[in-house]
Every structure is written in structure tokens, then in C-alpha cells.
Symmetry: C2
Subunit: 200 residues, 2 copies
Amino acid sequence: MPSAGAVARRRVHDGDSATRTALLDAAEALLLEEGYAAVTSRRLAAKAGTNSALLYYYFANMDDLFVALFRRGSERSFARLEQALDSPQPLWAMWGLIHDYSSTALTMEFMALSNHRKAIRAEIGAASKRFRQLQLKALTRVLEGYGVDPLEWPPVSIIILMSGVSRFMLIEEEFGVRAGHPETVALVERHIEALEGPRC
Amino acid sequence: MPSAGAVARRRVHDGDSATRTALLDAAEALLLEEGYAAVTSRRLAAKAGTNSALLYYYFANMDDLFVALFRRGSERSFARLEQALDSPQPLWAMWGLIHDYSSTALTMEFMALSNHRKAIRAEIGAASKRFRQLQLKALTRVLEGYGVDPLEWPPVSIIILMSGVSRFMLIEEEFGVRAGHPETVALVERHIEALEGPRC
DNA sequence: GTCTATAGCTGGATAGAC
DNA sequence: GTCTATCCAGCTATAGAC
């Protein structure tokens, strides 16, 4: 574990290279398959077909690697969100994005990881805010178009409700709890359908 | 890290003793203050004013200690829930219990911990199911009394909505995201008030 | 019941050859 | 850029004295 005040002394090679990408890919795969505790310098280097010393050539330390991996993931998510909000059925598209395990699993793993990697905490906060702002800007316009009263149903609350209920069910499923999930998904989707018509 | 198939060979002393309780208290405090990564046998023993060898006198291994701590916490939560559901305003009482950081923080820490301690996963799943059943049994009766249509608003979905939105906001707050939270809390509380009158 | 001492392992990070 | 070899720290768990 790096000491709290650790500073990267080595020079880091930010550019793209096949090895660097392989290391990030291996880290992402390990993170999803076995959880962040499995992502150690040795195991991840082995999975990428190299050794841990090379990892430290590309990244100053493990924190650095995790931050790079998180940013790569956020950029992808952000692009997917922009595309979803641009669809003719933005509520359905957003719900599809939110209530999908594979797009949420990485985020949740990073949240768990952030418990003992403070560098990651700040990254998650910043990305969440940016994500929320984009969702909010689009949804405010969309809901206004559907004639939804923003005092009774603030757009930001719609986002939080959809995200919260979805995330909660995904987490529960990881622990084998499924009671009430189908009914709740149906409830959410009834309300989306009332505003936006059946999903196309 | 214990090997996957590790079996507890030592005899374990389950009964209450001041030292055992001190160890559990220290573990709980460390878990909340610094996250589960800080809960190592050495640090926790030091915090309890003893040494790690004694920890292994009371618990077969670290997994065992975490399971014992989780069970102690669940029993307390369960008792609080029973009391809440027995109040004259069960919706308000349940919401108060759900949307309270201190009662949720430990659960979230255990969920993060369960990523690399499988023994904990099973415990969380079992406790969640038990918790849900109690909530559901009480809420079904209460909502029926308020004349809420169970086809449009299934009681189990009300529970999931309340839990999900609350948990989501508590997590976001840990990452410094607060946008839309007051509006959303107000929204939930308006709906509770419509059914149960102002909170007493 | 409680302690000291320590075995055995794993991980982060670096040195230095090629 | 990539490797082998290695240092050092911290952790789980045990042995054995008192």
C-alpha cells in the first residue's frame, strides 16, 4: 500500500501503446471477473502477458493505473449517454442505459475500490457531477415537452429515482435478492410508456 | 489472505466476554472510520487494547470475526425495524430508518467487504431477504389501510423505491454529489404526508 | 486468557541488465 | 521497452511461555 503522501517520481508514458492498452484491458477484465481485490500488479501483468516491472514503466503506481482505467471508462459512458439522450425516445433510452448491469458493474467496482484509494474518490465525484449535468439538461427539455409539471416532478428527481431504484435492484441481485424486482421494473416502465409511448 | 478452502481448526469461544466485545467494537469503529481495508488483525487488536494473537483465540479467522460483527449489526437493525413498523406512522418511521446515514453506512461497508470475503456475501443475502419480508408484511397491511391500489403501487415496489432512492443519495453524498437531493427528499416526503399526514 | 515471537506469504515498487 | 532479481512492508495465522 502506498503511503498517503506518496508522489510519483518516475516519468510516466501517457501515450497509447499496445502494451499500455493490454494492461488496462487486463485490469478491466480482472475487475469485472474477480473484483478489485484481485487486481494486483503481479496478477494483472500476468494476465496482460507481461510482468509487473513493465507496469511501473507505464504507470507511476497502481493508483495511477486505476485512475487511467476509470477515465477510459467514463469517456465511453459519457459518449453512450450523449447518444442515448439524442434518441427519439430519450426516457426509454436513458432507462435502458441505467438499468443495464454491464454498464453499471464497473462503476460499482470503482466505488468499492474508492474506499481505500482516495485518488479514485475524486475522479468518481467529478465524473458523476458531469454525468448528472448532461442528463439533467436533456431531461429538463424532454419532460417540459411532455407537459410534466417540474414543481411536482422535478427532472432531477426523476433521474435520481430511476438511477436509485435501478442501482438498488442490481446490487440486490448480486446478493441473490430478487423479490419485487419484476413488479418494480414494470412500474417504472408503465410510467415511461405513459409519457413516451411503447418502447420502439 | 486465507486460502479458498480454509477450514477453522481451532475451537472458537462464542460466549460474551469483555475482550470479545471490545474486539467487535473496535472492528466496527475502524470499519466506519477508515473503511474495511483498515480492519486488519493487527490494527484492530491494537485499537481494542490487545494483540492479534488474542483475536485468534476468540475468532477462528478474520472471516469469522466479520461474520460475527455483521450478525450483531443485523440483529440490532432488525429490532429497530420491528419497532419502527409498530409505530402509528409506519411509513414515516420506515423512511426515517431507511434515509439515515449512520444506519446504512455499516451495511454499505459490508457490501464492499463482501467483494473479497465470500462468507459475508451469503450473510448479506440472507439478512436482506429476512429484512425485506418483515418490511413487506407490515407495509402490505398499512398501504391497504390507506386505500392504495396494490396493482398500481405494489407494496414491495414502494419499499424498493424508498430504499433505492435513499441509498443512491447517501452514496452520492459520499462522493460530494448533492444536486437534486433536497428536491427529491421533499418529493418522497410529500407522498408520505399525503397518505399518513404530517410527521409527528 | 493473555502475551511475545515468528513463520510464511503476497504485494508495491525499484535496480539494473539487455 | 522489456526483462530478471530483489528489497521491504504488512498481513494472516500459529507456537508456545506464562
